[in-house]
Symmetry: C2
Subunit: 239 residues, 2 copies
């Protein structure tokens, strides 16, 4: 990857600390438990101070709605997992009918700072960092879309997991020999239903295909269902 | 949509003109014919001056590669359509194994300016516009991913077309009565294979499902295979 991730950017620590202090003073920071929804609104800017949030998109599109209006009303909107936003990263919410984005705390003790864009007038350098972070997130989403463009579900799945582990994975060492790098693992669980929602498939199919990937040693699962990829298939040497 | 599109932003015309003049002087602008590849490299910044480019992602992921190495070599990588970038908009290329992005002129006489990021040091206000444009493109991609998260291919297709027409559609009036707004059309053709590549489906399936959408009056096709949506199903009143 050409661009460093947001948290890798040499952050002017003082600015970040000053922003956190400012957020405390102005009651602009709040903590959330796992799976709690962040009451985020379009037009505002959010920064993850600690933990991680999960972005979820809801589509109310239904190609059958015009014929079966009653069914439309009863139909639960499908939620799609759109990615994580980790500590130090900004996020925002967009809403455009028929799509809605929502943010949930993905782990306990996730804390989020919110601000208006014009609050950043005080920290022009930090605004540029935030915009660069969105630029980087955009690049990642283009790669993600490349993965999803593949026709076979198993290829979409492997491409999707590879991108996630490359971005968020943490090194995992062999239990027998702690000097041997076994692979890289996502630091938090992701359910098969969530994965299915991201790649346009179902929980059942994801479970089946992940079994196949494991058989082929393209995937490792560890402990609490953490998703890991073998070290040789992950391109994060630069981190 | 909260954010205006890049080309709707009240652009300081003088800056844009100055950048184009600068690009001419420094041989930083080039014209391309339809479907010609833009020789874009990661790390540089590109601006579409005229026409439109098509972003395409290639994935070399193959879940069967480890078993069938010979097949992997022969296998044509799948290309996914990742969106358009229209006049006035910036784009950049990312490459991260196993994914590669490429840009193609989508229409004849597409002209593209290229620069280094540090060239923007002369135009700090413009840099902010460019970063805001990427921020907006990121928001659109999140909506796009919401559309692709739907399980049924026909819903993915309709969601995808709705987003494209909302962003790029031009009003189309009834041939009988030019006062009657019929719908909004994409200003350039998009093949069924390209659509399929974006939504993880095939040309054949897209053709079949587009027929269904037409029957249900959720889609109109016009003249040269231009894709149109009925006025009432498009949310671009604000444009």
């Amino acid at each position: 990857m050409q661009s460093p991730t947001f948290s890798e950017t040499p952050r002017p620590f003082l600015t970040w600390q000053r922003i956190l202090d400012w957020a405390q003073e102005h009651y602009r920071v709040r903590s959330f438990n796992k799976d709690e929804r962040i009451p985020a609104r379009p037009g505002l800017l959010y920064l993850v101070q600690r933990g991680a949030i999960r972005l979820v998109g809801t589509a109310q599109v239904s190609a059958t709605a015009s014929q079966l209006t009653s069914r439309r009303v009863n139909r639960t909107p499908e939620e799609a997992f759109l990615g994580f936003v980790g500590a130090g990263q900004p996020f925002e919410i967009v809403a455009q009918s028929p799509f809605t984005l929502q943010a949930y705390a993905h782990v306990d003790q996730t804390s989020v700072v919110w601000m208006y864009w014009h609050d950043l007038d005080n920290w022009p350098h930090f605004r540029r960092e935030v915009l660069d972070a969105f630029r980087y997130q955009h690049q990642r989403k283009l790669l993600w879309l490349s993965a999803l463009g593949q026709r076979r579900t198993i290829d979409r799945l492997l491409g999707f997991l590879t991108l996630l582990v490359e971005e968020y994975g943490e090194p995992s060492f062999s239990p027998e020999d702690p000097e041997v790098l076994r692979g890289y693992c996502l630091p938090f669980p992701l359910t098969h239903a969530q994965i299915g929602s991201a790649i346009g498939s179902t929980r059942v199919t994801v479970t089946r295909l992940m079994g196949k990937l494991r058989q082929r040693n393209l995937l490792i699962t560890q402990g609490d269902n953490l998703i890991c990829l073998p070290a040789e298939s992950v391109n994060i040497a630069k981190r």
